[in-house]
């Protein structure tokens, strides 16, 4: 083993990996909070805003509601692409390093 468990945990590479993971996770969680609780608080605070018509009968609230669902999926998608393309590559590199 090139690096022991302790050495690995103390290595800058590993620390960067963990910090990167939680930075992405927390930023995306905050965006999710803003989107969802923003929507809920908008309903609680300003119903007329959502009730205004954007088509002949369609209210603004309808596309915004759909938008919250789509945004939730897009955030999930961003995380998965990052985790599979960036994070996992770094994980396997570090695991290989431990095996050497």
């Amino acid at each position: 083993m090139a690096r022991s468990t302790h050495e690995m945990l103390e290595s800058p590479d590993f620390k960067r990996l963990v910090r990167g993971k939680w930075t992405i996770a927390i930023v995306l969680t905050i965006v999710l909070f803003i989107v969802y609780y923003g929507f809920i608080l908008l309903i609680a605070a300003d119903k007329p805003f959502l009730a205004q018509k954007i088509g002949e009968y369609t209210t603004l609230g309808i596309p915004i509601g759909v938008g919250v669902i789509v945004a939730a999926w897009v955030l999930t998608f961003i995380y998965v692409v990052w985790a599979n393309r960036v994070h996992d590559v770094e994980v396997s590199r570090l695991v290989e390093e431990m095996k050497k």
Binding site: H6, A25, T29, F39, L41, E56, Y57, T58
Partner: protein, 519 residues
């Protein structure tokens, strides 16, 4: 008079041959799957985790199957039909937990655990107290969720198939037990996949049939809604009023998902963390699609069926989607949708039973009573016994709570899940100083506080017990009980260090982030 009027317009409540044929067809297919799965279910890994061979796409469908209960399908369609836009607000709330699940716990949960979320919480803490506490939180969540499903199942089946309530409970209990007992997680996974495909397909057809009536334009549908029910139906109404209430409900819906044992358990059926993440992306896509189209079904029902008829058949509005199917596709299509609703309930109850049984057998029996030492044969035998126990309890609870308004029980299940299970799970993953005493006190605080607060909240104190004024003003307690679970967990952990737990944190970290030693 009312009954005669209904009978003239719908066959719901009478024996419906096409429903029975579709129902038997679905049961036959799923039992064949069970027979096939039974031959592949010998070890504990196969029984609890389908041998960790489920693909990301399959698990994505199965997660959707586990999550989209009859409450999602019939409940949200009914809410949109009866209350209009407010039903849509509910639909968004049910989805936003999935990204949070992905960001905060999906990877570590998969890397650290074996069969249950308690494996993760107990990873470096003292097994006995933590397993017992986690099993209390887990089983309480599963039981509350099961009651809601079983009571809903009994009334629905009674209404749609014209059979007695108790018989309906027994049929659900017996078929579901066959799946879990003989086919374990392999059969349960495939039952979820079949159910998810049927539900997504059925609702898609229903949506297309509605849109066909309105020259394929949602705008025309909204015009008809506005003409028949007034523009109010397309505007936010009384569902979300108080800000604290709204945030608290939102917290319960979002973080409750991160503490639902039957959902968390599915993460152990895939080979690794990457497959776990990808399966969440699929699930979020399927469930999001479902919640985007289900309001069209609801609005369609309010125009094409009418609120009066929906209310006459079921005051809660739950029959909006089946009634719409009858109007658009006649009795055979009603039969198909009824059978899909039945399959939905069966599959969810099967998933819940497997989660409940794993808490009893894997967490309590194997890890507490036998201190982790038990042969494969013994573990599988105990898991099957626990399954039978749980199945009987589910049927008994269904009969016991007959006729009760159980809508609050789903809310309560989410409140307990986000207060008892989620804080301890998250802290055990990220915080080195987290201790056994901290975990146990956090779980117990979350569990008992959320139950207590919901009993004295308007949901139970006023609506169920008919007292004048609630002792606790917020309908969903999550904002208080989840916060308390975090605060207590942190304070108790800070009071006394646990060197053995801190020493094991290095191994845990290596496994959390690099999957070294993950099963």
């Amino acid at each position: 008079m009312q009954a005669a009027q209904t009978a003239a317009q719908t066959v719901i409540g009478q024996r419906n041959n096409s429903a029975i044929i579709f129902f038997f067809l679905i049961v036959a297919i799923t039992l064949y799957i069970t027979y096939w799965a039974a031959k592949r279910t010998r070890s504990t890994k196969e029984f609890y985790a389908a041998g960790r061979t489920v693909s990301a796409f399959q698990n994505g469908l199965a997660l959707s199957g586990d999550y989209m209960s009859a409450a999602s399908f019939l409940g949200i369609a009914g809410m949109v039909a009866m209350k209009g836009y407010d039903g849509m607000i509910y639909a968004t709330g049910w989805l936003v937990g999935w990204p949070a699940l992905m960001f905060l716990i999906a990877g570590p949960l998969r890397n650290l655990g074996k069969y249950t979320f308690a494996d993760v919480v107990a990873f470096r803490l003292k097994q006995t107290p933590v397993r017992i506490a986690a099993a209390i939180g887990g089983i309480l969540t599963v039981l509350l969720y099961t009651i809601a499903q079983m009571v809903g199942a009994g009334s629905l089946i009674k209404l749609m198939f014209g059979i007695d309530y108790v018989w309906a409970e027994l049929i659900v209990g017996a078929v579901m037990l066959l799946y879990v007992l003989f086919g374990g997680m392999i059969a349960t996974t495939w039952v979820q996949i079949v159910k998810a495909a049927l539900l997504l397909g059925g609702v898609t057809v229903l949506t297309l049939m509605v849109l066909a009536q309105f020259s394929w334009s949602p705008g025309d549908l909204y015009q008809a809604v506005s003409a028949k029910l007034g523009q109010k139906a397309l505007e936010p109404g009384g569902l979300v009023t108080g800000k604290i209430d709204a945030i608290s409900l939102g917290l319960a819906l979002m973080f409750g998902l991160l503490g639902l044992p039957h959902i968390l358990m599915r993460f152990y059926t895939v080979p690794d963390a990457k497959a776990a993440r990808t399966s969440v992306l699929y699930a979020t896509g399927f469930i999001g699609y479902f919640y985007i189209i289900i309001p069209i079904v609801g609005f369609g029902a309010s125009v094409l069926v009418g609120r009066e008829l929906i209310k006459t058949v079921d005051p809660g509005g739950n029959m909006a989607a089946p009634l719409l199917a009858e109007v658009l596709g006649g009795t055979p299509f009603l039969g198909f949708i009824a059978a899909v609703a039945f399959a939905t309930i069966l599959a969810v109850v099967a998933g819940l039973t497997l989660a409940g049984a794993s808490a009893l057998s894997h967490d309590i029996y194997v890890n507490v009573v036998k201190k982790g030492v038990a042969t494969e044969q013994e573990q599988v035998r105990v898991a099957k016994m626990a399954t039978v126990v749980f199945g009987i309890v589910a049927v008994l609870l269904g009969v016991l709570f007959k006729g009760q308004n159980v809508a609050f029980m789903v809310g309560l299940a989410f409140a307990v899940a986000c207060s008892a299970n989620f804080p301890a799970l998250l802290m055990s993953i990220v915080w080195k100083r987290f201790t056994t005493a901290g975990a146990v006190s956090s779980i117990l605080t979350g569990a008992f506080l959320s139950v207590l607060l919901i009993v004295i909240s308007p949901t139970v104190w006023v609506d169920v017990l008919h007292k004048k004024e609630a002792l606790f003003p917020i309908k969903n307690p999550a904002i208080v009980s989840m916060t308390a679970a975090f605060v207590i967990g942190i304070l108790v952990s800070l009071m006394a260090r646990e060197p053995s737990a801190e020493a094991k944190f290095e191994d845990e970290k290596l496994r959390t982030y690099l999957a070294v030693g993950a099963e």
